[in-house]
């Protein structure tokens, strides 16, 4: 009973806090550009509005079109539940949940891309193709990062992997994971979340035909993914697990805010990359994670 209550509490915290992060990023962008910007809670209003709206379906689609966003949202929520939050709550760590974490992220991507292909629209197919082709490199990078943590802690359970502080490779790992965060969440050097020009979009092109509650699920899932990657980055680099609960909560919140600020600044100061240069940046992120692994391996061997 206690465990069930705990799980529900954690799920609610994840789901409620997730849409804050894009709001903060947008506020930072507005602040850099000298605008007032939308309120921080804008995504909540958007989600509520979308939830009340009806669904418009193309005549070509099968039920998979609605099921895709739902599966993706559940998979992302499940992945979020696997992430420990320092010493804030006891996690039910089991061997290999890191692999399940990566698998759930991949399932979410598969479901979204599959739903995009359902419509038979050329733009959505293009968006799905881009999404999965960049994912090849981004997933390699995140697996390399998890391997680094696993080498450091000699464990394949996320709770233990994230509790052990990373030694020499922390800076490399932070750089690599930040690149992955930007790529996986379609932020600026890779994709522009505010553009609406079909030819240049990646993630947005994939979800063009969705409307109403499925679109709300996709938007909420995207914000959940952003929060998840921020928490993962913070916990991989900072030894949050060693702090007392209150200090851990403070440090985690502060660090996620710093990451949101960094994403906002990157989006304001950088232009998006030319398409053919994207794989190069992603490869760089992958190599940063690999070198972090190498540093850990060398450091651990001696």
């Amino acid at each position: 009973m206690k465990i069930a209550f705990d799980l529900i509490c954690r799920l609610v915290v994840w789901l409620v806090l997730a849409p804050l992060v894009p709001g903060i990023i947008n506020k930072v962008k507005a602040w850099v550009a000298g605008r007032r910007g939308p309120p921080v809670l804008q995504l909540y209003y958007d989600l509520g509005r979308l939830w009340r709206k009806g669904v418009v379906l193309s005549t070509a689609v099968s039920p998979g079109f609605v099921a895709g966003p739902a599966v993706a949202w559940v998979a992302l929520a499940g992945a979020a539940m696997l992430l420990p939050a320092g010493s804030l709550w006891p996690v039910e760590a089991f061997r290999g949940d890191a692999i399940l974490f990566v698998g759930l992220l991949a399932l979410a991507r598969f479901a979204t891309a599959g739903a995009a292909l359902e419509t038979g629209s050329a733009f959505e197919g293009m968006g799905a193709a881009r999404e999965v082709s960049y994912a090849v490199l981004a997933e390699a990078a995140i697996i390399a990062a998890l391997l680094t943590l696993s080498l450091q802690s000699r464990s394949v359970a996320l709770a233990e992997m994230l509790a052990t502080p990373v030694g020499a490779g922390a800076v490399l790992l932070a750089g690599g994971l930040f690149t992955v965060l930007l790529a996986e969440n379609c932020r600026v050097p890779f994709d522009d979340p505010s553009t609406h020009l079909e030819l240049t979009m990646i993630h947005e092109a994939m979800v063009l035909d969705h409307s109403g509650p499925p679109l709300a699920a996709i938007l909420h899932g995207a914000s959940l993914k952003l929060l998840m990657f921020s928490v993962l980055l913070v916990e991989a680099v900072l030894p949050i697990g060693k702090l007392p609960p209150l200090a851990a909560a403070g440090a985690l919140t502060l660090a996620v805010l710093v990451i949101a600020l960094a994403v906002g600044l990157v989006e304001s100061l950088l232009a998006r990359l030319a398409f053919r240069r994207v794989p190069l940046l992603l490869t760089t992120g992958f190599l940063l994670c690999i070198f972090a692994m190498l540093a850990t391996w060398r450091g651990g061997g001696r």
Binding site: R277, P279, L280, T283, T284, L287, I290, F291, L294, R298, R302
Partner: protein, 212 residues
């Protein structure tokens, strides 16, 4: 020792930057930064603060960080070419090969029977990785100026290996090598100018075409 390893690791990172950058000035900058980083190393290695060590360090930083890049930038300006690198071997493959070489170099250095005082340092792997990166730039790029940068990075690799013997070799040898290098780049600057006049580009593939 860890400050030394940090600088050597920085030099290894600059290898990858030189391999990944698509603009001529950034390749030149990467080679220049690497030269400056390597120039500081003798100060960390040679514990005795001999005036010759300082002289060589200052000379290396000045020549590799400012004189040679200055010459290259002047050649670039004089040639008035577009600043794309135009690789034969793409950026992502060359980056991956460079990284593979780096990992291989670390593994190789572990297998080598090194002296105990060199076993923990990154000097040997960095030397191998830098030499391979220099080779990659030499064979994988078409523009003469990038090839010069590849040559400079290759020389940096050999210099890194030479640092292992810093207590045994007279530093005057280093000074002589530095002078040779400057003269070589000076001559290459002139050659670049001649290539530009002859072919209207710096593409060295033109050399393989026979004609009257």
């Amino acid at each position: 020792m860890s400050a030394l390893n940090l600088l050597v690791a920085l030099a290894m990172g600059l290898n990858l930057m030189a391999l990944a950058s698509s603009r001529l000035p950034s390749v030149i900058n990467a080679a220049a930064c690497q030269g400056m980083v390597l120039g500081v190393l003798p100060l960390l290695l040679g514990a005795e603060s001999h005036w010759l060590v300082w002289l060589v360090a200052v000379g290396t930083v000045a020549v590799k960080g400012f004189v040679i890049p200055g010459l290259l930038r002047r050649a670039l300006r004089a040639a008035r070419i577009d600043r794309e690198v135009e690789p034969l071997l793409g950026f992502v493959p060359s980056l991956l090969v460079g990284a593979g070489a780096m990992i291989g170099a670390v593994a190789l250095a572990d297998a080598l029977p090194l002296r105990p005082e060199h076993a923990g340092s990154l000097l040997v792997p960095a030397s191998f990785a830098t030499i391979v990166s220099g080779f990659l730039l030499l064979i994988g790029r078409t523009k003469a100026i990038v090839q010069v940068c590849g040559y400079l990075i290759l020389e940096n690799g050999i210099y890194l290996f030479g640092l292992l013997l810093i207590h045994a070799t007279p530093l005057i040898v280093e000074a002589g090598i530095l002078l040779d290098l400057t003269v070589a780049v000076f001559v290459i600057g002139i050659i670049v100018d001649r290539i530009q006049r002859e072919f209207d580009s710096l593409d060295t593939r033109n050399f393989t075409v026979l004609r009257e």
